[in-house]
Symmetry: C2
Subunit: 429 residues, 2 copies
């Protein structure tokens, strides 16, 4: 983990270099994804079973997880963990309930009504990764906002394991959160199945959830035919630390991020050179005690950095250029500085709000915009599972009052059919 | 325009056939788009000028519209039209102001703060089509929600005309709405320039606005690196008419939609066979008086239909399966039936609310989800130009109360670094 002193004029370059980290060419994956999607659209269930056999190595008769399998999965989760899952679920539900929007209507004295009707999406697909990355927190974080939104049909899909089963924690999480059904279909074939359906599976309206490069590119490919949440990149944290920060806490939080994978990026920005070197020492010390040595070594070396700035103002300039997925403000007056934050997925204030608290438990969503996309996108939320319709009502008198303006506008755009749709209501009354 | 009596069980098939209308292969366009984007990313301004020369046939020294050009454009718009534009702008602003979300924070007795900070996107790009489709309404509808959201930097880009100028109505609309600058760059090269910038042009964070197939595919290609609004298909209307409907009004509204282009789809659903044939007669009669004969003929014949259903309930079942961009309820009690509408871009209630009123004037946005995407997406709105950050603050006591749950969750997911980030705050206090 390097320590760099940054000047304001260097910030743009640092940010650009980090963006280039992801300028990967996806041509080979894209060709494969396209072929998988087109085959499943054409051949349906048979193609899905074929891909599960060739890609997952399993000969599956039934891709739908049975009630018995779900029941069995519950027996494999400890009572303690069930209590934690339930409490986490409640916290997530409580936070997300505040995001729920309602329809509104307004009218004026002329008899004009305008409004916005808000309705839930009907069918949602949730992709849940398998293997090492089978996280029950992901299941809760992706399903609960849909449940709060009022989505009535939630299909979870997740890769089947070589023995024909699915990770029990995924099953319990999905069932607890309120999934309507769970499919054993991973990868791009899982996304294709959700997007277009088969003889036996109804297509969904929108797909959310993280996955590997095949899943991410498949989501981009089907985007437009169905909705998708976002295209997530490697995870990242930016910790802002002033002289009141505890270097051990900062280091621990950087390592928590770095352990996700080799491309995960953990960066600290501090106003104190002493704190900077103390963080560096702590990273070295604590890293030795962690399980995921190889991953940590690589992500800390290649993606980690500690930047020293002259003051907190410049640290915030860096933060807003970086637009981190996770931002921690380990500073003495975090609430005072919060308004300076323009772009971040989630903001953790103070010395006792480590990022893992948000991953599992506090309530806000852990699916967050990565790689600078916090400049234009939001955490996964209830708003991702609802949509709006505009509503307009004019009386005949109200229309008559504005008919001239509308007719002129239509005429100016050269659309006489638009003009005459208004005109006919008065000329042929 | 055919008249078909539909049974409930036929609805799915009708909807599927309509969806297939757009199952076009974009391979050739996609290859071209990729090459344009990559060239502009590599060669910047020089590449942009090169594409303007080869694709638009213009040798441009300066791609930015000058203050003088804008001034000149104002002289070419009549006073009447300026007044209409200004009134439309105000109506759009008033409606969209109601969409603006604000940040919220809440806390509990344990010292836990949770919140959601809402901030505007900083840099927005608005694509405005040129040529025949240069509509000032498009300019207002795409810029005003960004202005209401508080976006501080709005770049409009639009194709240059063969004489090196830009449609004056586009310039006036953009300037009136509050654009920061206007570029003379159309097509996929316009999208690439907005997304990645050049030596002389700062990239934007999100791109909105309609365009041809190259523009649409370019938006899909850059999606993820920047935000985009939606991928729009051909325009469409669905008019529900009961026995109180005036067939002449219904026909006029169908034709207003059909005149957009050959793929535009205008469909009526009525509970009355008499009304159905009256609509058909009216379409024939009125069509003869309209300007765009060839377009109308083709879209009415190929994309138009009048469906007869047994009752309004079944008409609504059809509507919700169809999920039209524009829905008109020309029925006696439209407010009563409004709650039955689950999926539609914009809903026009009653006999005196023709769709063109919404295109230009009433206030709600005219950029709407097409081709069934109203099942998962919304009209363009202020929410497209703002984004959210989650906020979390725990005191040391509050964290201590839940540390066991968080540590157990992290342990269960096999992430000891996550667990230790919590643990270190108490074990090394």
């Amino acid at each position: 983990m390097k320590i760099n002193v940054i000047e304001e004029q260097d910030i743009a370059e640092i940010v650009t270099n980090r963006k280039n980290r992801d300028a990967v060419q996806y041509d080979v994956i894209d060709e494969r994804v396209k072929s998988i999607v087109q085959t499943i659209r054409r051949d349906g269930d048979e193609a899905v079973r074929g891909y599960i056999k060739s890609l997952d190595g399993v000969d599956l008769n039934n891709v739908v997880v049975s009630a018995q399998e779900i029941e069995e999965a519950y027996t494999r989760v400890s009572d303690d963990m069930m209590a934690v899952l339930t409490e986490a679920k409640e916290n997530i539900q409580t936070y997300h309930a505040k995001q729920k929007e309602t329809s509104w209507y307004s009218h004026n004295a002329d008899g004009v009504w305008l409004g916005q009707q808000v309705t839930p999406i009907v069918r949602i697909g949730v992709y849940v990764p398998g293997g090492k990355a089978a996280y029950p927190s992901t299941v809760l974080m992706n399903i609960m906002p849909a449940v709060v939104a009022g989505v009535s049909d939630i299909t979870v899909t997740t890769p089947v394991q070589p023995d024909g089963t699915v990770n029990p924690m995924t099953l319990v999480g999905a069932d607890l959160a309120g999934a309507s059904r769970i499919l054993k279909i991973g990868g791009a074939h899982g996304i294709a199945t959700l997007a277009y359906g088969t003889e036996s599976i109804t297509p969904v309206d929108k797909i959310v959830g993280p996955g590997n490069a095949y899943v991410a590119r498949a989501k981009k490919y089907v985007f437009g035919d169905v909705g998708i949440d976002m295209i997530a990149g490697p995870s990242e944290v930016c910790v802002v630390a002033d002289e009141t920060a505890n270097p051990a806490y900062v280091a621990a939080d950087l390592l928590a991020q770095a352990e996700h994978d080799e491309l995960a990026s953990a960066v600290a920005v501090t106003t104190s050179e002493a704190i900077a070197s103390a963080i560096q020492t702590e990273v070295e010390r604590q890293m030795k005690t962690r399980d995921r040595q190889a991953i940590l070594q690589e992500s800390v070396t290649n993606q980690g950095a500690i930047y020293v700035t002259t003051d907190l103002e410049m640290a915030m300039t860096f933060v807003n250029a970086w637009a981190p997925e996770h931002l921690e403000l380990q500073i003495s007056h975090p609430f005072e500085w919060l308004p300076s934050v323009k772009h971040a997925g989630a903001i953790f204030l103070g010395h006792y709000t480590p990022e893992p608290l948000g991953d599992y438990f506090a309530g806000p969503n852990h699916t967050l915009p990565t790689n600078g996309t916090a400049k234009f996108s939001s955490p996964l939320g209830v708003y991702d599972f609802m949509k709006k319709s505009s509503v307009i009502y004019y009386t005949d008198d109200a229309l008559e009052q504005v008919r001239q303006q509308v007719e002129q506008f239509a005429g100016e755009e050269g659309l006489d059919g638009h003009r005459d749709a208004v005109r006919i209501r008065f000329d042929e009354k």
